[in-house]
């Protein structure tokens, strides 16, 4: 197996400098522009956010969230920064903070933000602008 020392490759936040990865891992994890690659580092960073979102698969937890968002966020031990991302419905920020997209859908749903609304925000467009870029925008 060939190894590449990552220090020289400036992979930004993705890897700790000096970490050794096989060539295959390196090729996978090299950043892709405007794209989040959900790996274990990101998953670890987002674990509290993802746990909160996972709980939203239960009707009771969804109702509890709608009743008292702050209490729900505290129950899952979110940091003040993470709470702010939810308060501001900052979906781009939530992805960067390690929320997996499929978990994000659950918090989107409970706050009345469907996938396409969240996507428009991540693209920096209005919902209508985003829809106008689609082949057949009625397929929703």
């Amino acid at each position: 197996m060939h190894f590449v020392k990552l220090e020289a490759l400036s992979l930004g936040h993705l890897c700790t400098p000096g970490t050794l990865l096989s060539v295959y891992s390196y090729a996978v994890l090299r950043p892709i522009p405007d794209t989040s690659i959900f790996d274990l580092r990101l998953s670890h960073r987002g674990r509290r956010l993802n746990k909160l979102c996972a709980a939203l698969c239960s009707r009771e937890e969804r109702e509890a969230f709608k009743r008292d968002e702050e209490a729900c966020m505290s129950k899952f031990g979110l940091s003040e920064k993470e709470k702010d991302l939810i308060r501001q419905r900052d979906f781009k920020g939530l992805i960067e903070a390690g929320t997996n997209i499929y978990y994000l859908l659950k918090i989107g749903s409970v706050t009345g933000n469907g996938l396409y609304k969240m996507g428009a925000q991540m693209r920096g467009e209005s919902y209508e602008q985003f829809l106008s870029t689609r082949n057949y925008k009625d397929a929703v």
């Binding site: 090729a27 892709i32 690659i37 790996d39 996972a54 009707r59 689609r134 057949y136 009625d138």
Partner: protein
């Protein structure tokens, strides 16, 4: 003896679920998709499979990152309909095939050295249910046609938290499934469904990215050179077809389960919103490899 009689590669876009539940399948935006499945359903009604092995990924409905298996096989008599955060869809529960699941587990772990996570409970969600909806009709309540016309076994693959299994590993799992089914002592007809994709990205500034050219290339390769396609890296798929398109590696499990003489029957592609929705099917009348 068990026989694999067919394979289907198809997308599992979640918005299809509510369209089925609200009877909107004939609306202009959705009709092209559902029309493509009319001949597939007819074909399946003639093939009459006893069991469908559905290779899919859970989208954080019943599996969580606390413990996240690379490959997880259902070993149960039935599978509940899951709640993935939007309520539970009004669908009949899925009948499994416990005996076949036990056989697959033993054959895959002992003979083929696939160290699967074995699950006595799985609540299935859109990754599994949308393909079932597209391929099979179902009845409700006290209907004579109550339930699904086929038993089904979920095979869950990690395609969302890297490191993922490689494309080749997924293909080899399909080959192992073929041999395992062939060594099942009872007469049984099996179809394998590989689900997910095609091109899509659901996060970042590249949200909504699709690549129709890549999707057609993938369908071509899947049919004509699956061994060659196994060399594709996750990175190439993510770069060219969007990060979430990496689900496509599950289609290779279906393809690996087909014999060399399997022939392609159906092919369709429709990309209205944010996901290239592909369909390809293979018929296979060879009992063994």
């Amino acid at each position: 003896m068990g026989r694999i009689v067919g394979g289907i590669g198809l997308s599992h876009v979640p918005s299809v679920g509510p369209v089925v539940d609200r009877n909107r399948t004939q609306e202009p935006a959705w009709k092209p998709l559902f029309d493509a499945y009319v001949p597939v359903r007819q074909w399946l009604a003639q093939l009459k499979p006893d069991v469908a092995i559905v290779v899919y990924n859970d989208h954080a409905a019943d599996f969580s990152f606390d413990k996240y298996p690379t490959f997880a096989l259902g070993v149960a008599e039935r599978y509940a309909i899951g709640d993935e955060g939007f309520g539970t869809r009004p669908l009949p529960e899925v009948q499994g095939d416990l005996e076949l699941s036990i056989h697959l587990s033993e054959a895959l772990v002992y003979d083929h050295e696939f160290d699967l996570t074995l699950c006595q409970e799985i609540a299935v969600e859109h990754g599994f249910l949308v393909p079932m909806n597209l391929c099979f009709p179902h009845g409700q309540g006290n209907d004579e046609m109550r339930g699904w016309p086929v038993r089904a076994i979920p095979l869950q693959v990690n395609v969302i938290q890297h490191p993922l299994p490689t494309a080749r590993r997924c293909y080899k799992l399909g080959q192992a499934i073929r041999e395992a089914v062939s060594s099942y002592p009872k007469d049984l007809k099996v179809v394998v469904m590989g689900t997910g994709g095609m091109s899509h990205q659901l996060q970042g500034k590249r949200f909504g990215y699709m690549n129709e050219k890549f999707d057609h290339w993938f369908l071509d390769q899947l049919e004509s050179d699956p061994e060659g396609l196994c060399g594709i890296t996750h990175r190439k798929i993510m770069e060219q077809a969007g990060a979430e398109a990496v689900e496509l590696i599950m289609w290779l499990t279906m393809r690996g389960a087909m014999s060399r003489s399997a022939r392609r029957v159906h092919r369709h592609y429709y990309a209205p919103m944010t996901t290239g929705m592909g369909l390809i099917s293979f018929e296979d009348d060879q009992g063994v490899c």
